[in-house]
């Protein structure tokens, strides 16, 4: 009974994926949901102690799946393609994570003054949206300003900037994620 789970995933996904390739957006969204729920299990099992990062990795992988859709070869099973990308993102995560942890440790151990200074009221007052936005790379800031503050649609923003819609989506996503982590960091 347990064994037929992967097979059902594969058949459902390949049917949806076929439709998605031809431009069926509803099928594409369903396929991405299917992939996301499958990846959650995949990453949770492999991250164990860091399972808080699962959702981030799922989203990173979905973005990769989306931006690299053109590299899928219909002669192959979709799940092979998806899991190859997922395992790449996992290895990449471990590499980044190891490095970031190494950088964080001395700060946590020694600089308690720094942490206290960051929590006073003035620090919060400075957290105006624009100040935060200015810390982002130009492309991410611009993408967020246009689509989330000025309220343009993705297509309009794409016209205005000359950046493709799918690249804009990625910029917005990465930018919002970065903002969230900035806010978390300064609290």
């Amino acid at each position: 009974m347990v064994m037929d789970q992967p097979d059902r995933f594969a058949t459902e996904l390949s049917a949806l994926w076929g439709l998605a390739q031809t431009g069926d957006e509803a099928a594409y969204a369903k396929a991405l949901h299917l992939i996301a729920s499958r990846l959650r299990g995949y990453f949770t099992r492999r991250l164990s102690s860091l399972s808080g990062e699962t959702e981030d990795l799922v989203q990173e992988t979905l973005i990769a799946v989306h931006t690299k859709r053109g590299t899928y070869d219909p002669a192959l099973p979709v799940e092979n393609w998806v899991f190859a990308i997922a395992s790449y993102k996992l290895v990449d995560f471990w590499r980044r994570h190891g490095r970031r942890e190494a950088l964080h440790q001395p700060l946590d151990l020694t600089d308690e003054d720094l942490l206290i200074a960051e929590t006073n009221e003035d620090a919060f007052a400075e957290q105006d949206v624009n100040v935060l936005l200015n810390t982002l790379p130009t492309q991410q800031r611009r993408a967020i300003e246009l689509t989330r503050i000025q309220g343009l649609s993705m297509a309009e923003a794409s016209n205005q900037t000359g950046i493709s819609v799918s690249a804009l989506k990625v910029h917005v996503h990465r930018g919002l994620k970065r903002l969230a982590s900035l806010v978390r960091l300064s609290k």
Binding site: T22, G23, K68, I85
Partner: protein
């Protein structure tokens, strides 16, 4: 951002997929690499004497380089896309290397025992294995940049394949100005040069191919 919101964002206006193929661009980079390597090699040392075009050595070098280039291009094509089985392509590359080693060994056995070392060292054994990786650099940079546009998932080996292909291209260009006539020389020093290029690619891969 919630995952469901991200999915809605990604799917809206996604449109039909435009499949990416590597063949044409790979052909362009390889062609440009061959022209550039040949030009540099001929420009610095001049062409081999006309008599070499009727001997076996030059053709062995060119055949070896071309076969390895074809094998490693296939390997690179496989490794640039997620989820493709690369084992057959690795097999072809190993087979070509084994064939060259066998031919090289036979040629050495035909040389009288006392003359084998000078036969294998020729006059340029210390130049050839360094010249090939240096000559391969432009093609290597071009190939790494090309590969990054696709979706390599094993960066170390994808970099290796870039280096192997760039090294093979460089070896072909180098052969046009190399006067060594011994097959055994080719088997050892050309191979070493190409392996060094491949190593260069493998070292650069994880850093330069990230996407």
């Amino acid at each position: 951002m919630k995952t469901s919101a991200l999915i809605a964002d990604l799917a809206s206006g996604a449109g039909p997929v435009k499949r990416l193929f590597i063949g044409r661009d790979l052909g362009i980079v390889v062609f440009a690499g061959v022209i550039l390597c040949s030009a540099i090699s001929l420009g610095i040392r001049g062409p081999v004497p006309g008599a070499m075009w009727v001997g076996a050595a030059l053709w062995t070098k060119l055949t070896y380089a071309t076969a390895l280039a074809a094998g490693s291009a296939w390997l690179l094509r496989t490794l640039a896309f997620p989820g493709k089985r690369a084992v057959p392509a690795y097999g072809v590359v190993v087979l070509i290397a084994v064939c060259m080693a066998a031919v090289g060994l036979l040629s050495v056995l035909n040389v009288p025992f006392g003359k084998r070392l000078p036969y294998l060292l020729g006059n340029t054994a210390l130049i050839c294995p360094w010249a090939i990786p240096v000559l391969s650099l432009p093609a290597l940079i071009g190939l790494l940049r090309l590969t990054k546009r696709f979706a390599p998932t094993d960066l170390r080996w994808a970099g290796f394949a870039c280096g192997l292909l760039a090294g093979s291209i460089a070896a072909a260009g180098y052969a046009l100005s190399c006067q060594e006539a011994a097959i055994g020389f080719v088997a050892i020093w050309y191979s070493l040069g190409i392996v060094l290029s491949a190593g260069l690619g493998a070292v650069a891969g994880p850093g330069l191919l990230r996407w």
